[in-house]
Subunit: 357 residues, 2 copies
Amino acid sequence: MATEMHRARRTPTPTIKTLAEMTGYSIATISKALRESPVVAPATRDIIYKAAREVGYQANARGMALRTGKSFQAAVLMPVTAARDYEWDGVEYTQILSGISQALEGTDYRMSVHVIRDAADGADAARRIVDQGLADGLIFSGILADDPRIDLLVAEHFPFVSMGRCRGDLDYAHVDIDNEWAAHAATARLIAGGHRRIALVNPERRLSYALDRIDGFVRAFREAGLDAPLDLIAEGDLSTHFGRQTVIDFLQLDDAPTAFVCINESTTLGVLSGLGALGRQVGVDVDVIAYDDINVSAYFTPPITTFYQPIEVLGRTLGQFLLRRMEGEDPKALRQVFRPTLITRQPDNLGGRLTQS
Amino acid sequence: MATEMHRARRTPTPTIKTLAEMTGYSIATISKALRESPVVAPATRDIIYKAAREVGYQANARGMALRTGKSFQAAVLMPVTAARDYEWDGVEYTQILSGISQALEGTDYRMSVHVIRDAADGADAARRIVDQGLADGLIFSGILADDPRIDLLVAEHFPFVSMGRCRGDLDYAHVDIDNEWAAHAATARLIAGGHRRIALVNPERRLSYALDRIDGFVRAFREAGLDAPLDLIAEGDLSTHFGRQTVIDFLQLDDAPTAFVCINESTTLGVLSGLGALGRQVGVDVDVIAYDDINVSAYFTPPITTFYQPIEVLGRTLGQFLLRRMEGEDPKALRQVFRPTLITRQPDNLGGRLTQS
DNA sequence: AAGAGAAATAAAAACGTTTTTATTTTGAAT
DNA sequence: ATTCAAAATAAAAACGTTTTTATTTCTCTT
């Protein structure tokens, strides 16, 4: 029965050959007409389009791919830390993928996702994608201060857009968040609230944006005529566990921090967890200001003041830039740095006590 | 300079033609040798392999694709709710993708991700993938009680693995969580803790596993000789906002619930947020038991008792099953239903007061 | 030593496009 | 009416494979 259905399947999917037979034109003309080549007469173009619509013609991606050497794939490197205990991590990536796919919608490009486990893995994946022509363009994040992938892709003239920037040359398409600015703003706000011992929960220093964050952090202190508490910069894998452990470690210092600047929602949750475990109350004993991609901080108890940048918008921009880059557009024109908006949910001055004392 | 590099690029990537010239064999023999066909003599096979290694031959995926009609793509439908305010949602999908890609590693298959916004979108995507041969196999989730995608794919004999099951026939490959069992276990535990008014924070009823959950919920009450409080089953989009709103709505009822069973970590966070906003303490005024994919509940304040199933394992199984399915294996053999493990972090009896009264 | 059959390899065709080159048709100028 | 260029279309080749069919080479058997 099912077999019968299968056997009775409608006529083989139409190709340009089908259209050629239908219209009487040669396959060359069909191809050119469908590609909107100016050499084919408008009248015949119309006829061919009509026939194509009639049989629901869809260009065979494999045929095109073979002939043109293109793959019609937009590759995305998705980092997944080999998380112990499968921890909450990389949660914002669905939003990024969603944004990218939105940008690709209606084009001939599909999105292929390559999972990478660490930086070396990422470099390998990029190499493979270029060498084997697995994709026509590449999007990736987690940019290192000096990222080999960028060097490779620039040298190979392979279209790409990075989420984040190296700290060196910027002659390539990228989308980023103004991390220096955000870290500065968060830190300055806490300093204004009377805090002096402020901890920065930061990613590992080899990541480009980790350095940007530190720059902003230090600048805020410098502008206040203070020395930045460099001993309170924690570096780790941005897992929830890392956030929690940082709090537990720092709060048993003699001059423990009175405030935390958190780099993402995952560590923020860990920081709150650590504070809760130690019986400290946010907004009373300690202040927390966070950076949030996915608007989750509003639901923490208490809600946390954050710098918020909907990450899907970044994803969409990444996709749009990649399309333009694959069209051959000059990468110099394809840059955008977003400034997250501050969403205040707390006074940031330890329940008013700090400014009083 | 960069242009020079590009121009000086090494000899064009080797094809079977290159190998043919190198070894003196015909391309037909090369192809067969590389495909390990038994018709080619072992000695020549070795020679050809050696040549292939020497020049670093990599089969051109596009050529293979065109000839074989295969795409060497494993498609995944990734649901993204058109979240108002880009809310926390679908966070577990990175883990699923990670698991699938693990399974695909070392094979010729790549993972392509198709973002879908709702059920209709998902059906369209499946249709397109089948009709245009965009992939050789498909993985998807969010199974409806009667899911058109399953009907389509079964009818077309298209290899797929679903995460979740229809409530009807099960003659297809699937991976699932034993939702009936989990909901029953959670509910029974709360009933044993003395609770009678228990709320179930559930997805929409058209989803297959929503019904499974209700079944388990109802069974737990029935086994205790009680009527299930059907008025306390909330149905929604599983967003954090939905979890929060449910608490706020239910707690102003005359006979408000004393416990909540939450369906995922996102709603759990919302429930905790709602309870916090109303000044209720978890474990004192109200008990919460949750279901967790990504091990985040340990970091809530207080930590929440959960049924935990690392979702990456599901992803890996999905990938493995799809590979076997694409090899033509009988789908009947490809089923696995996981039972999450209970991780107790709270007594579930309102701080001991319930059993005393 | 000839022939048959099996084993090994080669040749050719095909997958569905695009692109280059060749041919036909059209229209204007003489 | 002829000629010629331009316009329109057709033919053929190519992309890199796999597969079907054909050919060659080898190994026995008689």
